[in-house]
Symmetry: C2
Subunit: 234 residues, 2 copies
């Protein structure tokens, strides 16, 4: 009876099934509603969404391609685990991507990009005002995603989006352990980054992005373990 919402919509357009399942599962994974390591039963999902196993399977393959689920041959797929041991590789990657995408945004952004970025920052402020940790995490992702898009490098954008998604899971885990105490507020840093992008000051973009990443990383590393990142002078 947990699937009353799906029962109400037996009519779907051709081709919309996979997208629906993909986005739904993805969100449940990123919010930890589906905990890491949990087996995913295809037939169970099939009847939950009221469709055949084929589109469910395709959604799972796509999620596996993004590293959000792990598939074992002839065995149930599971929600991808969060590898706490190699967390420093994550921090290395997200730090570099913050720096590069912010710098590129400073260089290649167009006026409409700034509109989008400022809108995301407004969303962030709203989430802070509402004291909603989940929304703050999700909107923080959208903020940096908008910056990455403004940088207009699809390779960097793809990796950044993947890292931001993975970050949602890590942050969620982190704050869950603190009983959902409010995340630290990054509004001021965000404002400074926006200003640097608008001014097209690339070095400042770089410095601010790095400081912003360091800030978050240090906070989480304090909880999970020591910071093993390289001090890349680059």
């Amino acid at each position: 009876m947990t699937d009353a919402a799906e029962d109400a919509l037996p009519e779907r357009k051709r081709g919309s099934g996979v997208k629906l399942v993909y986005e739904m599962l993805r969100d449940e994974i990123l919010t930890l509603a589906l905990p890491p390591g949990k087996p995913i039963d295809e037939v169970h999902l099939a009847e939950r969404f009221g469709m055949s196993r084929t589109p469910i399977r395709e959604a799972l393959v796509r999620l596996a391609g993004e590293g959000l689920v792990e598939t074992l041959p002839n065995r149930s797929a599971i929600v991808a685990n969060i590898d706490v041991l190699n967390l420093y590789t994550y921090f290395d990657a997200i730090t570099l991507m913050y720096r590069v995408t912010t710098r590129l945004a400073g260089q290649y952004h167009r006026p409409e990009d700034l509109v989008t970025i400022r809108a995301r920052q407004a969303d962030y402020l709203r989430a802070v005002a509402a004291q909603d940790p989940l929304a703050m995490i999700a909107v923080n992702r959208e903020f940096h995603a908008a910056i990455a898009e403004a940088g207009r490098n699809p390779y960097f954008t793809t990796l950044t989006l993947r890292l931001l998604d993975e970050g949602r899971r890590i942050l969620r885990l982190y704050y869950q352990s603190f009983n959902d105490r409010l995340p630290q507020e990054y509004s001021d840093e965000h404002e400074a980054i926006i200003a640097a992008i608008a001014a097209r000051d690339l070095d400042l973009c770089d410095r601010l992005a790095r400081a912003h990443a360091d800030q978050i990383v240090r906070q989480i590393q304090k909880f999970f373990g020591r910071d093993q990142r390289l001090d890349i002078a680059l």
Copy 2:
């Protein structure tokens, strides 16, 4: 009758079908045997490989996830196009990944990594001796892939592998236009990189990787158009 090879193997193990199709298609795309923009007919592939459409479909979804094929709703999937206009974003990305992975390899490599890397360099020398452009391109990819693996950052490794694959197509296109004149030889630069990694000289790794990337980029940019990359001082 072009599929005599597949006919000889009607027996496949359960679960091996997708992998077979995936790897075969992938290789044909990367060698430009399947030209960019070419429509991919599922039923044609199904009878070519002697299997149902289901595993072919899964392979296509995976390839789409890597950006090697583009799927249009209710229309044939096509081999992903090479976007020459935005080529500079590719060079930006591959240059940064060369630098980062080589630096990380210098820091985190283990003895067995050097064995693998040197083996790839030996393969490269063999391909040069054999005057085989296709093999040189493919083995060059393996060389840098081995370095990326030694860096032990899965996020960077994934992006680097994707860029190297895309690079196989770009290089192939480049050399094809010169009637397969032999690619320039990079043996010396490779040797220097290996030495820097072994010596764990991170700054040297960075400089050499950057110079190596610049070398290749300049060569190709001379052909496709001017170099729009940022001069990231980082």
